[in-house]
Homo-oligomer: 568 residues x 2
């Protein structure tokens, strides 16, 4: 529960003043007020440091959009000032927008861990961009312009995640990236509380910390606890087993592989990103694969079902994924049989519920047993809940906190946790995208804000679909349209061609507008007879008004009305 | 977790044979394979008994649709055969489609409890239908044609809910309606296990039982436990309090009223259905309101914020609800202030997640503290989870079970629970909408199925929006459209009027199709020159093909293309 004592948001901020000399400026171009497109920009002495550059996946309100990017508008005239982009880990909401930033300037150095850089490199290859990569590891230092970066290992739902401390003459900023505090991580890589404590002792002026699970009480359950649950499901499965998970969750997949080996089953990977990422993970020694364990999918489908496990993408209900096709009986290689077992060893990302349940219901209808996080403990979150966020605050003892990575409910809950640990409310900076925080003379404060828009990727284009198109899509998608075209002869003031009707998405009844057409013709004739001068615009309004009123009275609906008056 | 031993669904069923003499037929027109539009039809000796007649709320795949009705197609030629409609309780997914059924035949008797009938009567008044009502209470008998109905009290998230036992010469069918087994219900009305045991002793041939929470382990927490949680939130609230809940959840609202009285706050109801339903509940003695507790909304807004509680609709994130408007700062009477407390004392209906979180985030952004079911125990479900479903099966000992009210995942999970209690798999009838179950000579079996469609209500019309319109809406909503109109003179084979372009929802760039227009003109001229005969259809195809290829190559998108060729 959030408390009522949280500081107020600053909803009516003005443009920020120039950054005072010796000050450090922080602003998010994405990730504050939303889960996704994380991107923080730091400025010191005329130079910029970017931390993460991710994408946001659209919701129902952004129909037809493929991706939403951070708004680069604030920095696109200052691309040469960017000293580096630090990538904390390889999830899409942290690296997905890198290709779009590098389209603007390809040689911005990308700083990150081995696995993070391997994933971003594979992504950039698809965009035909050859990046400048700077590999770092926990404990390393890296100087990017005036930003002295120090990297700290953190534990998350992808290997090789890092937090970053940025030392500048203005003070020290620490950005946690995404993290949790699994005390028994599969790879032994812990969130380095010692490093946070040392930094806290040296003095953290401003902490930017992951708020995703701030509303969730307690502490994480270890990733390690999933193994025994998988084992019990494997134990009971007498036919085919399919496990679906995020394609970057190396430790989850590792446990599936271990369980498969234990139960004498071979493993086939299904889905392009699964094959690619696990290949990378294996090459880097992050995924241990027993010799002979892996088989190709066509080998797996030829084997007795009780001897294989398929590891598949599609855990978020994506209709075109392998699992989505299987659930509809449309996968060309895998047919679900009654008695098969499917495990969704994954989170349920908000907004995907309907799609995921559709897949589960499709599989259940075909007779499969579906095990998912609401029926068994086959998933643990990658983000620190309340207990761990308090722990970090108590260890790091920051002078100021800026909750990041979250919708307003998460940011506000994080602020409440900080107050519980004794931080005073004026030291908690509740900002949303575009809000500018300056650290000057050891004091951090909100000094203004710049407008941050949603930048939409739709097909090959970035930015041409905006609010106008989306508003039209929302109306068209709910109500359909009716287009009425009339050809008139201006000199004789006559209708040359009767009104032509074209309608889609309004009704399955082809005669739905028959009555309206008669009305429109009559109104047009009246207007043509009455007016001294032919005015196509006025005639269009006659059509719009006549049809609009008729359709509202007759159907109580509001389709988009597109009148066209052509003069010949 | 569902087990792998569940019976297979019957996916390729034929039309059912005629019902043998002396047999009882059961078929669902809605509610099996989905949560909502519950409607079961029983047939014996040429007569029909309907149990419930509810609506389903549309998902993203049914854009613009207001409601989905059960498919009356199977019974609309047999309306005179309907002996009665039994309504188990007053939720929309059980009574919402009654007006549409009564539009076909207004004098079908509606049988239900006092509160259920009061709610359905208020609904029918809006449709200007004066129904034939038959009020019954738990323990009552009612003979509707050959169906001897006996009513049993059950506990649910609305008062006055009933299960029904239908005795026929073919055997006894028991339908639970929606139920749970709160052992400390606020009004003392328990699910009558004694009655179920007696019926079981006498012999239940076929049990139709609520599957909604079959995947959820354990037993319900009592509704009564919410009171102390509300109390603790009220205790800490120093400003305005707003509680949002379902407008029919009398016991939840009762606890809010009691808590308000305890804390010396007045209560104002906000939202049309909240005011109406609580009025009905108070009239029937189901809601106890202390004298002087209630005030009107305009009185409440004039009082000091710490002295009032607003009880509002909008708990499912409905954008037009009172709470939705407050969250956007658009409510004309209530302005959210930093420090206000809002409690969403309600479930989160699947599919509404994004809308609900949007409201929560809007409120959080304005500085309010939002308490919801994921941050505090302010909601308990109204449906029996696994432990209670097992209990009912063990008490009622039905010969056959037909899980109802659920998506496939719920039906299958319910089947698995029944097997755990010792029912053999051939006694569990896993059916979806339209599947026909006959009880003949004490043996129940699936004998066929009839197609059941989705019947959409959109505005004033029922049924004119079908799959064709929805498919068009989905394309238009994702991609927009481009309409190209050309006027030609057939005799001279010339273009009289250059191609007119009209596009919406494709791009915010007004020049998005400039290049395509040039191409289209050229292609049209070529076609006109080449063809001996002018063919508007062929010219339309030229336009469609030219623009389709161009837009796919240029944008990698697929807007709807609407070519129109007019001849003058």
């Amino acid at each position: 529960m959030t408390t009522s004592n949280s500081p107020q948001p600053h909803l009516d901020l003005k443009a920020p003043p120039p950054l005072p000399a010796g000050g450090l400026r922080v602003m998010a171009l994405g990730g504050l007020g939303e889960i996704g497109r994380n991107m923080a920009v730091l400025e010191f002495d005329g130079q910029l440091l970017v931390i993460d550059c991710g994408v946001l996946f659209p919701e129902a309100e952004q129909p037809g959009v493929d991706l939403i990017l951070p708004d680069f508008g604030v920095i696109e005239h200052r691309l040469e000032d960017i000293a580096a982009v630090v990538l904390t880990h390889g999830h899409e909401d942290h690296i997905g927008a890198v290709p779009y930033l590098l389209r603007l300037r390809a040689d911005i150095p990308l700083v990150g861990s081995r696995f993070t850089l391997a994933l971003v490199k594979a992504k950039l290859r698809e965009h035909r961009i050859d990046p400048v990569l700077v590999e770092v590891a926990a404990g390393d230092d890296h100087l990017a312009g005036p930003f002295h970066c120090e990297f700290i290992s953190v534990n998350h739902s992808i290997p090789d995640a890092l937090a970053v401390a940025v030392h500048t003459p203005a003070g020290t900023l620490v950005h946690t990236g995404d993290f949790k505090m699994d005390q028994l991580p599969l790879d032994g890589v812990l969130t380095d509380l010692g490093a946070f404590a040392r930094l806290g002792f040296e003095g953290i002026d401003l902490l930017l910390s992951d708020s995703t699970n701030a509303e969730v009480p307690g502490f994480v359950t270890s990733e390690r606890t999933i193994g025994p649950v998988l084992d019990s499901v494997f134990e009971r499965a007498s036919q085919r087993l399919i496990v679906s998970s995020f394609a970057s969750h190396v430790h989850r997949i590792q446990q599936v592989l271990d369980c498969a080996a234990e139960h004498g089953r071979k493993v086939a990977l299904v889905g392009r990103s699964m094959v690619r990422n696990m290949g990378v993970a294996q090459d880097l020694g992050l995924l241990r694969v027993a010799p002979g364990l892996m088989v190709k999918l066509d080998e797996a489908t030829a084997m007795p079902p009780e001897q294989v496990v398929l590891v598949s993408t599609g855990s978020q209900g994506e209709p075109l994924s392998a699992l989505g096709r299987m659930a509809r009986g449309e996968h060309h290689q895998v047919t679900i049989e009654a008695g098969d077992t499917i495990i969704l060893a994954s989170s349920l990302v908000p907004g995907n519920e309907t799609a995921v349940y559709k897949v589960i219901n499709g599989l259940a209808r075909l007779g499969a047993t579906v095990v998912h996080k609401e029926t068994a403990r086959v998933h643990v979150s990658g983000h620190a809940p309340a207990g761990e966020l308090r722990t970090l605050l108590n260890v790091a003892k920051p002078r100021y906190l800026m909750p990041v990575h979250g919708e307003w409910r998460h940011l506000r809950a994080h602020a409440a946790l900080a107050q519980e640990t004794g931080m005073s409310r004026d030291r908690i900076l509740l900002a949303e995208d575009g809000v500018v925080v300056d650290l000057v003379d050891g004091k951090a404060s909100i000094v203004g804000s710049v407008p941050i828009g949603n930048v939409y990727v739709d097909g090959l284009n970035v930015g041409d679909v905006g609010e106008e198109s989306l508003q039209a899509r929302r109306i068209l998608g709910d109500e359909g349209f009716v287009a009425l075209t009339v050809v008139i002869e201006p000199s004789t003031r006559t209708i040359v061609r009767p009104v032509h009707l074209s309608t889609r998405g309004f009704s399955d009844d082809p005669a739905a507008f028959t009555e309206a057409l008669v009305l429109v013709e009559a109104e047009l004739k009246r207007a043509l007879a009455a007016d001294d001068q032919i005015d196509a615009h006025r005639l269009s309004q006659v059509i719009r008004r006549t049809v609009g009123k008729w359709v509202s009275d007759t159907y109580r609906r509001r389709p988009m009305i597109i009148p066209t008056v052509l003069e010949v």
